[in-house]
């Protein structure tokens, strides 16, 4: 028989009265000890008996639309030209704006913020329509990252590009105050502004083992032309066109923290895979040669945050 400590269990031949039952209701409704397997089987409860906010914390779920909504992709946020030197302004990032096209679009937890505790899990996901265009062939300029040599059928050697450049998007939050002016990258997230020393040129970037909240918009895509047994005529670089970029992040706080807002930002420059930086870590490194004459677009999407109780 299930019971709460401190209450004598019913025995055979005991009589039940309304008062007894009411007392037991009160026991459970105002229990000061954890309801557990010792005093209540899990299966002995029905869904109505649980507070509906057991898994998702009260006020812990929010969704906002981000970017100007326009299904035919005419109204866009245009970022052009992409900046030439992201190291010039520490942590320079561009926030994705709201549907009015004027203000940064954010998850707003209000004046008191939302306090994450050790038993919480914050889940953030977002999606955004993005596009890239450019002029010329900056990826073919000598020194651009991503170039490699192949043999043509003639045979001679030509240089082609892997076109692995991209524009990094990531999450920022404000854990300082409701003023929402103290935006910083979420924990563990690089701001792609570390200064490295790539051989023959300086560079900035960020290690990809510090990218838990990062998504990368591909700048373009290339493929070999008439590739036959490792030889090819040339490469061809294409636009990826409008596509939906998605992102996600989960966070279980090691310490309590009050979150006032969350937003999506991007680094307005082209980055390319690299491992010549610190300790041969895999990084995304800013490419100042291929990243010229590039225009980035973004449009409508959503940003969602959910705070769940771990158990």
């Amino acid at each position: 028989m299930s019971r709460l400590p401190g209450r004598t269990p019913l025995s055979e031949l005991n009589s039940l009265s309304n008062a007894d039952l009411n007392t037991r209701f009160t026991d459970f409704a105002s229990a000061t000890v954890a309801i557990d397997a010792d005093n209540m089987r899990d299966g002995a409860c029905d869904l109505p008996q649980y507070d509906a906010q057991q898994i998702v914390r009260p006020n812990g779920a929010q969704t906002v639309t981000i970017g100007p909504p326009d299904w035919n992709l005419v109204s866009n946020v245009v970022t052009t030209p992409l900046i030439a030197a992201p190291s010039a302004a520490p942590n320079y990032s561009v926030p994705v704006i709201d549907p009015t096209g004027t203000n940064p679009s954010i998850i707003d937890f209000g004046a008191s913020g939302f306090t994450l505790t050790l038993v919480d899990l914050l889940r953030v996901s977002w999606a955004l329509k993005v596009n890239s265009t450019w002029t010329g062939t900056p990826y073919d300029t000598a020194g651009a990252l991503g170039q490699f040599d192949v043999v043509t059928p003639i045979p001679t050697t030509i240089t082609v590009t892997d076109a692995f450049h991209g524009i990094p998007f990531y999450l920022e939050w404000d854990v300082t105050s409701n003023a929402k002016v103290n935006w910083v990258a979420v924990p563990g997230q690089t701001v792609f502004n570390d200064v490295f020393n790539i051989p023959t040129r300086g560079a900035v970037g960020g290690p990809i083992d510090e990218c838990p909240a990062t998504s990368v918009q591909p700048a373009w895509v290339s493929r070999g032309v008439n590739v036959d047994d490792g030889r090819m005529d040339d490469d061809a670089v294409y636009a990826r066109g409008w596509r939906t970029l998605r992102g996600s992040w989960i966070y279980s706080p090691p310490l309590g923290v009050t979150v006032y807002g969350i937003r999506v930002v991007f680094k307005p420059a082209l980055y390319h895979p690299c491992n010549a930086l610190v300790s041969l870590k895999n990084c995304l490194a800013y490419d100042d040669i291929a990243g010229v004459n590039h225009t980035a677009y973004h449009q409508s999407g959503f940003l969602t945050a959910i705070v769940q109780r771990l158990g």
Binding site: F28, M40, D42, Q49, F148, P199, E210, R223, D235
Partner: protein
């Protein structure tokens, strides 16, 4: 008393088997004399209910895959990752964790992350059949059962999200996250012919996983 019990005492009447069943069913309920449907609504809050009694969430992250970390790549223009020269065919385990304390019931798994997969050799002269883009394969296995599987992204940069659900008995099942890369084609070049650096083929990073077990 009538208000609270699903059966009531009747005197002067023969006891029928059905009536006894009803009485005993009532007595086996959550607490003496009450059927569980009669418990007050919202009796239990997160403050009174023992942690993990009703549900449990596990989460884990993986900065980047370590199945293939080819060091023979260009230091300037590549990650130390999956290359055509060092490719692995088939499923590779990206990440695994034990879902300690699963009490039996429904489990939902969610795996998200970033990938890069080269499309440079997606369309070559001698790949005459099924000229499909090179893609990343993704699979989640929990307790030895495939819970979710999909053809993943095929883009120089992309993200993925894979969700599945199943029912599991009580125990500590293992969740294993697999990824795979489209095998090399017949015409693919593997190296820069000048520097002999291996060409980056694919990578998986910023991997995030969580599972929600609901025990009743």
């Amino acid at each position: 008393m009538k208000t609270w019990k699903t059966s009531e005492p009747i005197t002067g009447t023969a006891v029928l088997p059905g009536g006894m069943d009803q009485e005993l069913s009532s007595l086996r309920s959550s607490f003496q004399g009450l059927d569980r449907t009669q418990l007050p609504a919202d009796s239990f809050t997160e403050l009174t209910f023992k942690q993990y009694a009703k549900h449990r969430i596990w989460s884990s992250g993986l900065a980047e895959q370590t199945n293939v970390t080819d060091t023979g790549v260009s230091s300037l223009s590549s990650w130390r990752a999956f290359t055509g020269a060092n490719s692995v065919v088939g499923w590779m385990i990206a990440q695994q964790l034990t879902l300690v304390g699963h009490k039996g019931g429904n489990i939902m798994v969610n795996w998200s992350g970033n990938v890069l997969v080269s499309q440079f050799f997606a369309l070559t002269v001698n790949s005459t059949f099924a000229r499909n883009p090179n893609h990343i394969g993704l699979k989640i296995v929990v307790g030895g059962v495939v819970v979710a599987e999909r053809i993943g992204p095929c883009s120089p940069h992309d993200t993925f999200q894979l969700t599945g659900t199943t029912f599991l008995p009580a125990g500590d099942p293992q969740a294993i996250l697999y990824w795979s890369v489209t095998p090399n084609g017949p015409d693919d070049a593997f190296q820069d012919v000048t520097t002999n650096a291996n060409l980056l083929r694919a990578h998986l990073y910023a991997s995030k996983f969580f599972a929600i077990g609901r025990f009743r």
